[in-house]
């Protein structure tokens, strides 16, 4: 029987209001104590966490591991290692695989792939509409029974509001969470950059923020109509934050997240025609970034996701509009969160909450906290350890990141998932 003792770390567990030096005792996959040593506890592994921080393992609300169908970009195996090295213990997979996660068989396949990669806590998000085409409902209940944690339409817009209404009603009937990136197909106009000074200068097809805010406003109305539980993912602009704030104040059952890179980069940071900055939604303005940061600090936006999208080299090799969008972002998640803390935007507790406690609440899972009896998902990190994003340190198969070559502060040293040590830096 494996027992792990994590000794003398700064335990930050926002869900339980804990921030003190403590030992964490893990036995049979569960947290058994964060105070005194339980009787008869004989650890098989002891982790010295002095001068380090112990916190709940991170829960990523939007990830792509590219299997099935696109293993040239990444595999469960490659990305499970990357996630573990980033302190992530739970991942929600977007349904835009090939085939799409719209049948129980694909959901089963994903579970198998996760087991094989020895990274069991992967929750597929089922397609909201069949093949993500926005025309027919997927078999949501069967997909839920096959282990899908929510339904969503990935990057695809649902063009027809009647179909979106029915999908939300059907999801609500089965108490299914809808995870949705608001995105109006027509206003998006196949753009690849924010409709602003950068796109204008470089003649790039552009996406106005209204493609997001108008779709969001419509969805909020439909939440009221359908009673659906809705989580808005990867928000990118100021007025989205304001709308979520107003909707919550009004009493709607909604939540929201932001992709970590949106909290750091804007159109002004983009290097012309550098495809590593090609991301959807696009990097917007400084004002948008500031509002997203404030939204996070105030709790309006309660979670941070990686929106990890690993790509093969060819996918990013071309003229900017023709390249594929997305950033490989698991491994920069923690250091970029810590950068926000260093910049005084949020507290460390808030940052950890946004990566653990809050996403667990969104998903209605008993996780994201080191509560006695909970599955032992733990991240131990060194706040001061510096490292560089380079081939030597990088684990993901996708090297598509605008942060390549940059130095970061803060690095995970140990990751425990369901009581099993799945990563330690020394290895």
């Amino acid at each position: 029987m494996s027992q792990i003792l994590i000794k003398q770390g700064q335990l930050i567990d926002p869900a339980n209001n804990i921030n003190r030096i403590a030992d964490v005792y893990i036995s049979e996959g569960k947290v058994v104590s964060v105070t005194d040593e339980p009787a008869g506890f004989t650890p098989t592994t002891v982790i010295d966490a002095s001068n380090k921080i112990i916190c709940p393992g991170f829960i990523d609300l939007s990830t792509r591991l590219r299997e099935p169908g696109q293993s040239r970009k990444a595999t469960f195996k490659s990305e499970a290692i990357a996630a573990a090295s980033a302190g992530i213990t739970t991942m929600c997979l977007q349904p835009d695989t090939n085939p799409v996660i719209d049948t129980p068989a694909v959901a089963e396949l994903i579970k198998e792939l996760a087991e094989k990669a020895q990274y069991p806590q992967i929750y597929p998000i089922a397609a909201l509409t069949r093949k993500l085409e926005g025309t027919e409902l997927s078999s949501m209940l069967s997909l839920k029974q096959a282990g899908c944690i929510a339904v969503g339409n990935a990057q695809q817009a649902v063009k027809n509001l009647l179909i979106l209404r029915r999908a939300m009603e059907y999801a609500a009937s089965h108490d299914l969470l809808v995870m949705f990136r608001p995105n109006d197909y027509w206003l998006g106009n196949n753009g690849c950059a924010h409709e602003g000074t950068f796109a204008t200068r470089y003649g790039l097809p552009s996406i106005p923020e209204e493609a997001e805010t108008i779709a969001l406003a419509q969805c909020l109305e439909l939440v009221e109509l359908t009673g659906c539980r809705m989580h808005f993912g990867q928000l990118s602009c100021k007025r989205s934050v304001i709308k979520i704030f107003q909707a919550k104040k009004y009493g709607l059952n909604v939540s929201a997240d932001v992709a970590i890179h949106q909290l750091h980069l804007t159109q002004d940071d983009m290097i012309p025609f550098d495809s590593s900055y090609h991301v959807l939604p696009p990097f917007r303005t400084e004002d948008d970034k500031q509002y997203l940061r404030q939204g996070l600090a105030s709790g309006t936006v309660n979670s941070i996701c990686s929106d990890h999208q690993p790509h093969d080299v060819d996918a990013k090799l071309g003229a900017f509009p023709e390249t594929e969008a997305g950033v490989s972002s698991l491994e920069t998640l923690l250091p970029l969160m810590l950068r926000l803390v260093d910049q005084g935007e949020i507290t460390l507790e808030q940052g950890i909450s946004a990566l653990s406690e809050n996403p667990a609440r969104v998903l209605h899972i008993n996780s994201g906290a080191l509560t006695v009896g909970f599955s032992a998902d733990v991240c131990v990190f060194d706040r001061e350890l510096t490292w560089q994003v380079n081939a030597q340190n990088w684990k993901s198969q996708g090297v598509n990141t605008p942060f390549w070559g940059q130095d970061f502060k803060g690095r995970v040293t140990h990751t425990i998932q369901a009581g099993k040590l799945i990563y330690s830096l020394a290895d």
Partner: protein, 321 residues
């Protein structure tokens, strides 16, 4: 540009991709060198041996007659060997990537690519990934830039107006989709024009267009006041089907340049158009063929400008060897 890949370590032209990032001295040098080639047009033997033994490939992923022909003539007058390839987009969609096309041609010992492509950034991409000894000239990429067209326009303006510093220039039409307009605006601002004004309905203007360094007007009548140079842009037919404009006739009524409207501008204003012209859509025939039109002059100047740019880009190459 954070890093200007157009220039070599000595600040000399290596690629010509965009006006952005080039300074007034360099733009003026291009105009001056083009000036020296202009005289050649009247000579019996229209050739200089500057690029003898060099191989230039015109790589046109988009249809073009005028630009391709003037590039071809320019290369021939510099005594280079020229190969013109029209690569319909359908053949690249057969699976061969842009990079593979370039690699294949590189393997045939090419010295320069002249590239036209329908996607913004294509010329930059090729310049970044091609062998270091190869120069890339952008002959138009998507909606981004068409810097040789802009330079031949600057050359034409200088021919008629000498100094840029007192000039007010109006660019009229589809700014949103125009790579020509973007490059012209940059060139005019670098060369120190007093004002660049864009005249178009809102549907044909990019967002934040003022950030390019222009004044904006949606009314041709008031917008043409005090203007020294009028640049008309071509209006593509598909702008009507994509709901950007209601009809050609309504567009002509608002933004078409007629003799009456031309009178609002300064009496010695010149009228330019990058071609091909849509008579009766953006410009009246009487204006296009009238005394103030310098449209055909632009075409002739296109050869000299392209000779100058090709010679300059290759010159750095010779020095590096």
């Amino acid at each position: 540009m954070t890093e200007n890949i157009q220039l070599n370590s000595k600040g000399k032209l290596k690629h010509f991709l965009s006006i952005e990032g080039l300074n007034k001295t360099l733009l003026t040098e291009i105009l001056d060198i083009a000036e020296s080639f202009i005289g050649m047009n009247d000579q019996q033997i229209k050739k200089v041996p500057l690029l003898r033994g060099k191989t230039i490939v015109n790589l046109f992923f988009e249809n073009s007659t005028r630009t391709r022909t003037t590039f071809e003539l320019a290369a021939k007058r510099l005594s280079a060997d020229v190969l013109s390839m029209s690569i319909a987009t359908s053949s690249t969609s057969k699976g061969e990537s842009l990079l593979d096309t370039i690699r294949n041609l590189e393997a045939m010992f090419v010295d320069m690519f002249v590239v036209r492509h329908g996607i913004s950034g294509a010329a930059h991409f090729i310049a970044q990934h091609t062998s270091p000894h190869i120069s890339v000239i952008n002959a138009g990429d998507g909606q981004h830039a068409h810097p040789t067209q802009a330079m031949l326009d600057m050359f034409t303006i200088r021919q008629f107006k000498q100094d840029f510093s007192n000039l007010r220039v109006a660019i009229i039409g589809d700014i949103l989709h125009s790579r020509v307009a973007r490059s012209q605006i940059q060139a005019l601002n670098i060369l120190g024009a007093a004002e660049v004004r864009v005249l178009a309905p809102k549907t044909l203007l990019p967002s934040h267009v003022e950030s390019l360094g222009v004044n904006v007007s949606h009314d041709l009548t008031s917008g043409l006041k005090d203007i020294d140079v009028i640049i008309m842009l071509r209006l593509q037919k598909e702008r009507m089907t994509s709901a950007l404009l209601p009809s050609e006739s309504e567009y002509f009524k608002c933004f078409g340049l007629t003799e009456a409207k031309l009178k609002i501008a300064k009496p010695d204003a010149i009228v330019m158009h990058p071609g091909p012209i849509n008579r009766g859509v953006e410009i009246d025939s009487k204006v296009a063929d009238g005394p103030q039109s310098v449209i055909l002059k632009q075409v002739s100047n296109g050869i000299a400008i392209r000779m100058a740019i090709m010679a300059m880009a290759m010159q750095k190459q010779g020095a590096a060897e």
